[in-house]
């Protein structure tokens, strides 16, 4: 009790010391009044009230002393002293604004950027996946061997029958499940919602260790049974926000893309599937037959397994290959040239971020740590200079009677004030940077091709990480304490005698001391060199990329992917797409429409090809070509030049002879310089047969893989002459701005066919840009870090040179008196700076040559030892160091021997 009473009393006073003062004044004046009244009462002679008060005050004594004594007892004197220290610190920083600003900004950038990058790394690579014991979860994919000159593919999805076969044959997993994400229109009553849904099975939630908030899991019918009840589990957010958290929803019927599904449960809150984008789940096994789940060659599922306890990843890898072979035996590839398929197992955790994003993050983490080190070195350097400049001040104050404890408290207060200012700044920098990182759109492209990361690990999942902030901030603040507080404290040990006698004007004799400051400056310069090397190489690479001509003109084109809706039969589909294109070309603002199964910069189909007028070669000797199914307008709409022959027309339909266009590269590779026009070409089809078509034209090369790829042989076939029209890409040429067209295009499509599935809508320009986002973002961030590091290195050089000049003023004066010219003097100063820069440059270059090899795979037509970059760094650094040395050198040149002597 007494403890609580006592502390509440103390806290009240610390929180509001002014109130304490007012109360005490009131109390004391009351005391005085009563004393006066008493005196007047006791006095024999009548006495005026005024006289009584004066007498009372005299009797009581020094009221100020009473007040101060009471404050001291109350412990407010300590608070007073601390506030005084803080005020003093703020005032002294205000008198050195440049120093203060530099330290605060350095701290803010160093801490802020590091916390931001770490936040990204944590969100995308480190944070455990939100499933039970995620380290046991494995992602298994099909592996297509690299035969006939093709690259091996090891991230192929599964068909549902193959999933069932894998599950039956395997013994390393407690359970195996499958999922795939798509967009659906969900309708309940008269409300329709466009949401992401995952096809999966009854093993999904138990395998991930996710419970249900309501209802039950899917009924356990995972073999393919037609006619079974089709069921759906709702996501918690969808249920709560869209269906009003109605618990009576269990058993009700939902329309998913027009098919009835019975709601059996609601998943636990926050669960959004492995994709991270699902709002509901459907049981795949019981899906409508038209949806293709019973087709063993419809590869659209990701396979997920939970390892049995004690099974290692290595064992799982071996087992996956064996079981994969069994699955291949059961469902052999229809195209024998594809060889025997197998399966590979990867840890799910390792798959969650696309490899290029993972790489980018590691590079940025390394870069930001270098920058943080540079920042710490800079703060240390500045504080060391400040501490030594204050040696005299400290000595004088000690001589005037300040206790060491009092001085130490004050120096601590200064460190705290600096640290707080830097901390606040870094929160701002960090928070802003995280926002910018989270808004980077880098993963959209390529999602269509394969598994390029979990939704839980998108950039948008990046949040400001306070742990990272705390760790980084304490590192930087520890630097501040060690290099600011410690030397200052040490200075309190100096005696007045040495400090005032040795007043910084002595002649340096013998070799100059290599001090901590020199080491820090060299470190700063070498860190800056490493960062400059990295960003310089990336800038060169991006410049190369930007000048790449991808072989088509993306200007003014809106691209969107449309999927074949399940109710369309294969036969009516060309009619259907023709209708779509006709409607779109009538839309205001549209000047042309074309279609292809595959947009540029997103590799889709490939085939084996051979010259049909020559003997058929063995499978290994066939040509690998990119296959495209296009509408006749496609090449002209994308301004892919027709080099020779003719383009497709509407008359090249299923009744007409089969025709093909080939790319320039294909013409060269397949026909070796002969004219391919009129020659027959055979190419493999999805149905494991070879089709033959006559080449009617040659078109320009287009980069279908990425901006940094080389053109390969491409073959175009009219979509009227093929059945491969499962999903297509529409290209709409706008008269004005393509992005303004989005809404009207979607409206036209939905007016034509309600619920028409539209995905990936965006300008072709933005697809081109997004294909380079990774490289651009990395370059941009690296460049910021490099510039900051360079500026810090300049400050460090300036600080140490300026300090040395001020320390050597007398020596310089003597030299001038003895006949040294200003050229000699500036050489003296410059030599000092240049020697620091040279050492820093040497160390930095050595590190950079090793470190930049990490960038190799991100560089386009630039070698890590690119001479232009290296020379550029030397020039830039040299210029920066000279600029930083200019002011101290000028100051040194103007030293007047007479004034130096007089100052003694």
């Amino acid at each position: 009790m007494s403890l609580i009473d006592g502390w509440s009393h103390r806290v009240r006073q610390w929180v509001n010391p002014q109130q304490h003062d007012r109360d005490l004044n009131d109390e004391l004046s009351f005391h005085v009044e009563r004393e006066a009244a008493q005196l007047a009462h006791n006095s024999r002679a009548p006495i005026s009230a005024q006289d009584a008060l004066v007498a009372a005050r005299r009797q009581i004594g020094n009221l100020t002393w009473v007040r101060e004594e009471t404050r001291r007892v109350a412990g407010l004197a300590t608070v007073d002293a601390f506030l005084q220290d803080v005020r003093f610190a703020v005032r002294s920083f205000r008198s050195t604004p440049a120093f203060t600003a530099i330290v605060v900004i350095t701290l803010a950038l160093g801490i802020g950027f590091t916390a931001a990058i770490y936040s990204a790394v944590n969100a995308l690579l480190l944070r455990p996946l939100p499933f039970r014991e995620p380290q046991q979860l494995m992602s298994v994919s099909l592996k297509i061997p690299g035969v006939a000159g093709r690259r091996e593919i090891d991230n192929r999805r599964w068909s549902y029958p193959k999933v069932v076969a894998f599950r039956a044959a395997q013994s390393t997993y407690t359970d195996v499940t499958a999922w795939t994400l798509s967009q659906f229109t969900v309708r309940l009553g008269d409300k329709a919602h466009r949401v992401g849904g995952e096809y999966t099975d009854s093993r999904y939630l138990p395998t991930l260790g996710i419970g249900l908030a309501l209802g039950k899991n899917f009924p356990n019918r995972d073999s393919l049974t037609s006619g079974a009840e089709v069921t759906v589990i709702l996501g918690y957010a969808l249920w709560r926000d869209t269906f009003g958290a109605d618990s009576a929803i269990i058993g009700k019927t939902l329309q998913v893309d027009g098919f009835p599904f019975t709601v059996v449960g609601v998943a636990a809150a926050k669960f959004r599937g492995v994709s991270g984008e699902a709002d509901f789940w459907m049981a795949a096994a019981a899906a409508p037959s038209g949806w293709g789940n019973s087709d063993p060659y419809n590869h659209s599922y990701f396979l997920l397994g939970r390892l049995k306890p004690g099974v290692t990843v290595a064992q799982a890898t071996v087992a996956a290959a064996q079981v994969g072979a069994q699955v291949d035996a059961q469902f052999p590839s229809r195209d024998q040239s594809l060889g025997h398929w197998s399966a590979v197992a990867h840890e799910l955790d390792g798959e969650r971020t696309a490899p290029n994003v993972r790489k980018m993050l590691y590079i940025l983490l390394g870069a930001v740590l270098l920058m943080l080190l540079t920042a710490c070195a800079n703060v240390a350097n500045l504080l060391l200079v400040r501490a030594s400049a204050r040696q005299r001040e400290v000595a004088v104050r000690l001589a005037l009677g300040a206790t060491r404890a009092r001085l130490a408290r004050q120096l601590l207060a200064e460190s705290v004030v600096l640290a707080l200012a830097g901390g606040v700044g870094s929160l701002f920098v960090g928070y802003t940077s995280v926002k910018m990182l989270a808004s980077v759109q880098t993963l959209m492209l390529g999602q269509t091709n394969g598994f390029t990361g979990l939704g839980t690990a998108y950039m948008s999942a990046i949040q400001f990480d306070f742990t990272a902030f705390a760790v980084t901030a304490s590192l930087a603040l520890a630097t501040g304490l060690i290099f600011g507080f410690a030397p200052a404290l040490h200075a309190t040990r100096t005696s007045l005698l040495t400090a005032t006698k040795d007043s910084g004007n002595t002649v340096t004799i013998g070799p100059r001391r290599f001090t901590m400051r020199h080491a820090l400056t060299i470190a700063e310069i070498s860190f800056a060199v490493v960062l400059l090397a990295g960003s310089g190489l990336m800038i060169r690479s991006v410049n190369h990329l930007m000048s790449v001509r991808p072989g088509f003109d993306a200007a003014g084109i809106l691209a969107l992917r449309v999927n074949r809706a399940p109710e369309w039969s294969r036969d009516s589909i060309t009619t259907y797409y023709d209708g779509v294109m006709a409607r779109l070309s009538e839309t205001p603002g549209v000047s042309g429409v074309a279609m292809s199964d595959c947009p540029p910069l997103a590799r889709c189909g490939s085939a084996d090809a051979f010259l049909a007028d020559r003997p058929r070669p063995s499978n290994e000797r066939m040509f690998g070509v990119g296959m495209h199914f296009i509408s006749p307008e496609f090449p002209s709409l994308l301004k892919i030049p027709l080099i020779h022959g003719r383009a497709f027309t509407r008359h090249d339909d299923e009744r007409a002879p089969r025709v093909a266009l080939v790319s320039e590269r294909a013409a060269k590779r397949l026909w070796n310089g002969d004219d391919p026009i009129g020659r027959p070409l055979a190419f493999s089809t999805a149905t494991n047969k070879f089709d033959t078509a006559t080449v009617v034209g040659i078109v320009g090369d287009v980069l279908y893989d990425s901006m940094d790829s080389r053109p390969v042989a491409e073959v175009y076939v009219s979509y009227y002459q093929t059945h491969f029209t499962y999903r297509m890409m529409l290209f709409v040429q706008a008269r004005n701005s393509a992005s303004n067209l989005t809404a009207s295009v979607v409206n036209t499509l939905h007016a034509f066919a309600p619920g028409f599935p539209v995905h990936e809508i965006g300008t072709l320009d933005s697809r081109v840009n997004e294909s380079m986002t990774n490289v651009r973002v990395t370059t941009g961030i690296l460049t910021i870090f490099a510039v900051v590091a360079l500026l810090l290195a300049m400050m460090g050089t300036y600080g140490v040179v300026a300090y040395t000049v001020s320390q050597r003023t007398r020596e310089i004066g003597v030299r001038v008196a003895l006949g040294a010219t200003s050229a000699h003097i500036s050489k003296l100063v410059l030599w000092h700076a240049v020697s620091l820069a040279a050492i820093g440059l040497g160390v930095g270059m050595a590190v950079a040559i090793v470190a930049t090899t990490a960038l190799r795979s991100m560089l386009y037509e630039v070698a890590p030892s690119d001479p232009v970059t290296l020379v550029g760094i030397v020039v830039l650094l040299g210029a920066s160091v000279l600029a930083a040395t200019w002011f101290p050198a000028r100051k040194a040149m103007r030293v007047m021997p007479a004034s130096v002597m007089r100052a003694q």
């Binding site: 009790m1 007494s2 006592g6 109390e27 009351f30 009581i60 009473v66 004197a77």
Partner: protein, 114 residues
């Protein structure tokens, strides 16, 4: 921390003053001036609790949690701070009195009077 300026003699007095304040408050709640008056009165004018010792002492006993204060209105209608002894203050008073007795006895022994 600044050095405590109190001398040993003051220490003795200070401890005693705390005890006297608590003793006074044990009877009823009072304001500062009344406490000083009461101590002076009861000691027959021998002990004058001066403001310079009284108010720091009142601060001290509050900090220790032995007394609490609240603002009220005096008989003359003025805003006045009244002090009240707490339960732990009463316990402390008991301890201080017995300590004082022991000390008093010891001093008397030294002086050869007991």
């Amino acid at each position: 921390m600044a050095r405590d300026s109190a001398t040993p003699r003051n220490d003795l007095l200070k401890g005693t003053l705390d005890m006297l304040i608590l003793q006074t408050l044990a009877v009823q709640k009072m304001h500062g001036y009344a406490i000083a008056q009461r101590i002076e009165e009861l000691s027959g004018g021998a002990i004058g609790a001066e403001a310079g010792s009284l108010y720091p002492a009142l601060e001290r006993v509050q900090k220790k949690g032995w007394a609490k204060s609240e603002w009220g209105v005096s008989t003359t209608g003025r805003r006045v701070r009244y002090y009240t002894i707490t339960a732990s203050g009463r316990k402390q008073l008991g301890i201080e009195i017995s300590d004082f007795d022991a000390m008093f006895l010891a001093i008397n022994r030294v002086l050869g009077r007991a």
